[in-house]
Symmetry: C2
Subunit: 281 residues, 2 copies
């Protein structure tokens, strides 16, 4: 496995791969890899000849009071895990190269970035769409794989890709969960043993809501209340948002008539966790 | 010469050209071609194997009270002129395909888009950087050629290209002028005979300012006043802005110590014209 840190070198490598007809699959990550990320590599490998993973903790998607400095990092472990999974290249750029002095250009998707996580993390998706555009221009992939865990991010990236005519297939891979149902996340490492236990309510509440819909419940407000009630029974759980929206457009839903995304962000102690489920009716 | 109107067909053609090692040169225009545009084709042809010109009057770079509907168009004449100049492909997309319903994504360069033309045309450069990003992703050029006539546009596009890591060489071709000095522009067609005569003051005032700098004048305010005085002697000339700024960064200049851009926008009757000169000291 090759590690590339220089932008021009990465572009040159991508050109070389394309010139010999290789199909490039791309997995952008912030590192501290878990099974969810490794599954993204597997999805890329299914579809492409060469798999490139970027590991870069992107400062522009963190708010001023967020966990940029504390975000867990372990580059050596990441490399060893990615290599074992058959990743071909790690792109690991330096922040000074990605955002040099006097950096001025941003990509923004309007409307669908101001709800859900966008409402509680202003500027977050502007940072995400900007870095993803930059990484696409550097890695030049045919296919890019994102995780359903960040459901809104996946929808925003798909919309941006379509709107900007980026000639890249966006693949969204399913959420990978621990055996007890907790969605895998680099941030799970922040949880104490007791918080880890309380966090199980997140997946449980999604399962409960899915069951209710399957049994005929169509009232989104009622379902949201039931989720809030269940989650807030945990002593250290503070809800950021619980939303039920159209799965494609993130438009608010009152009466469920179509496929919906149930998504939330909840703080367990000091750790903000997100989870979601798509339910077909 | 081939005419392509479909986005996917253009991307496929670009892929084919790249696969056989052809270097693609791109000239984005809004059509109604004049000698200035044809010179951009020549600059592209010098550097590349295949030259692609886009002809598309981009609605998002026009303000609500601007001349989008009246902007001059003559597609057949454009094709014949471009073909004579050796252009290989015209990309002529439909607006519905470029901005479909529920279009949401924009590219913005901050700071340097809020001065000069950006100050009098809010949103203009957001429209320019968005359409240019889209066209870059559709045409997939190695080299793109812009005209120095739109000096601020060229600087904004260069900044965007660098910031977003677009792997494209931006070439800026010199202003092409009529024999009497008026900068070529599709909008010159709006001018009456008398206005056309009055518009000569634009180039004359730039020449005057250049001569003053070469003779030792370093006071930017004094120079701006001299330009304003000269232009406003014409009965139908109304100044939008006159600025003297650093040629690379568009930062304001008080005392001229380095290369400067002298740029202005002036209405002659109802026609807004721009012109500029870069002066080395």
């Amino acid at each position: 496995m090759k590690i590339i840190t220089d932008i021009k070198a990465m572009q040159k490598k991508a050109d070389e791969l394309r010139a010999i007809g290789k199909k490039i699959g791309f997995v952008p990550t912030m590192g501290f890899l878990h099974e969810g990320h490794l599954n993204l590599i597997r999805e890329a490998k299914k579809r492409c000849d060469t798999t490139i993973m970027s590991i870069y903790v992107n400062p522009t998607q963190f708010g001023p009071d967020e966990d940029l400095d504390d975000y867990p990092r372990d580059f050596d472990r990441d490399c060893s895990l990615a290599e074992k999974e058959g990743c071909d290249i790690i792109f690991h750029p330096d922040s000074k190269q990605i955002y040099p002095d006097n950096y001025l250009t941003y990509v923004e998707v309007e409307d669908i970035t101001s709800v859900l996580c966008g409402a509680s993390r202003p500027g977050h998706f502007k940072g995400v769409t900007t870095i993803v555009t930059k990484l696409f221009n550097i890695v030049k992939p045919h296919v890019a794989v994102f995780g359903q865990k960040d459901a809104q991010q996946a929808i925003v990236i798909k919309k941006m890709t379509r709107d900007l005519n980026l000639d890249i297939d966006i693949v969204v891979a399913p959420i990978v969960r621990e055996k007890d149902g907790l969605a895998k996340s680099s941030r799970n490492t922040y949880l104490s043993g007791d918080e880890r236990e309380q966090a199980l309510v997140l997946n449980q509440s999604l399962k409960m809501a899915e069951k209710e819909i399957k049994s005929g419940e169509r009232n989104a407000e009622k379902l949201k209340s039931a989720i809030v009630d269940l989650i807030t029974r945990q002593p250290d759980a503070v809800i950021d948002y619980v939303e039920i929206v159209e799965a494609d457009t993130l438009a608010p839903v009152t009466i469920i008539t179509n496929e919906v995304l149930i998504a939330f962000a909840v703080k367990i102690g000091r750790t903000r966790l997100i989870d979601n489920i798509v339910v077909q009716v």
